[in-house]
Amino acid sequence: MVSFDAERLIEWVRSLELVKRGAESEIRVGSFMGLEAVFKLRVPKPYMDPELDLELRSFRTRREAKAMAAAISGGVRAPRVYAVFPSAGLIVMERIKGPLLKERLQVHGDHGHLLHEAGGMLARLHRAGLVHGDPTTSNYIVAETGMLYLIDYGLSSFSTSIEDRAVDIHLFRRALESTHATIAQEAFTNFMEGYKRVMGEEAGKVEERAEEIRLRGRYVEKRRTIWGRTL
């Protein structure tokens, strides 16, 4: 692709309505060939060598789009990819409207089925040979249709290792504990039930490893030891 095109494309995308600015990308909404769409733009980093920056952005953009496509093929409800422009760092995707799972959990009520489904969806992603890398309650959307979607594949990668899968489980648990402390325990139990139901036998190993990661010390203070002595 000619860099001139990428620049003009970026300029146009940046005129769209901004809904979120993360560390890595800008999320904008607009219309793409008549469809309501989300424009995820990885912005150039001023502190990087321009060639390195472009290489990274296009690699990550491509990887994310591939992950989304693979997730959908694996039966995960993810936004459909409309178009990918690696050299512009841009993915255009289906816009899913609705509250975040995080917001739904903050409203009182029985959320058991939602968490059960969230767990099942992560399991389907894992079975598709992927890990998410950032499965928090902010990355599930409860669509207006009532269906749950798993979004943001920016940190996802192709992996079937128990360790990587367990990190996903661990991250979700940590997200529950830090954001939904009062219901975390029950919510996590529901989530894991859904996960096991889809994952089958393999789930046991992943769950075990997730507990191990939790106790590795990096994340939990009370079990930290030095040379076998508890501090």
């Binding site: 980093k45 940190l155 930290r224």
Partner: protein, 357 residues
Amino acid sequence: MVDAATRSSPPRNRESGELLVLGVESTAHTFGASVVSSRPPYVLSDVRSQYKPSKGGILPREAAAFLAENAPGVVSRALEEAGVGPGELDAIAVSLGPGMGPSLRVGATVARALASRYGLPIVPVNHAVAHIEIARFLTGLRDPLVLYVAGGNTTVMSHVAGRYRVFGETLDIALGNLLDTFAREAGIAPPYIVGGEHAVDRCAAGGKYVKGMPYVVKGQDVSFSGLLTTSLKLLRKGFRLSDVCYTLREIAFSSVVEVAERGLAHTGKDSIILTGGVAANRILNEKVRLMALEQGARFEPIEARFCGDNGVMIAITGLLAYAHGVSLDTPRKALIRQRWRPDEVDAPWYPLTLRDL
């Protein structure tokens, strides 16, 4: 040891409530001693002696022998320059880890001996926490995100609920270790740093970007061992040294700055400090400055002489800790901890700095 009668500076008239702490640093290649007061001008002395290998890298035993040889002189000079007799001190702060065992033992031995002889309490100081505290003291940034980069450490931290928590870190070798090892293997060091510039920076001048070298950021962590191996492999294949140096440095610096950027977005902190030996690097400073600007965060660089290991940072941290009730009840408990993590240390003084006492 310096006798009150023979010291060169006039004795200080101690203000009421003033605290005086001697800090002893001895975790790797530097033996440093400093006397710090709880009252302006705070830093009363700063004496250091650094082991510099003539060839190869640091040999722990050689480094420790060098430190042991220089320790008495450094401590004496620090007290002398401060005009403080050992008996006038309130406490002795010593960095008990993390670091190299043989080096750590030198500092711990000196601290235990002084503490026993003069009946002073020992304040255990974590070396990483000390790098943070001196940066907070110098910049005046009370609650920053911390990017700590040194020969043995590469960590992004922030203070949450009483402690410095690790947000991201290296999964294998540290940033300084990457630069030094590459320079040594490529035959461009030692000396590693000349005129404040690292051998890799010197060689990177005029270098061009080489495509395809590994850039590894896994979530919030970085990894450099693959980058080191690939760089050396490319050199053997005949790639230009300046191109490899440039690309290695760009990838390594960009990845730590990127993790720090994620850290800022995640923790919501509105300022950032860069500390540790590699923090003296001008190019890294510039990258952090640009990133902070983009994220709308404040950034204040610290003086190069306070980036590397020194006794001042140990004394500052020790004084803060001592003023908040941290000390050992007997010198016997001053045991070294080679792998002492900063997130194991309570920081009850936070967000106060020395200037607030």
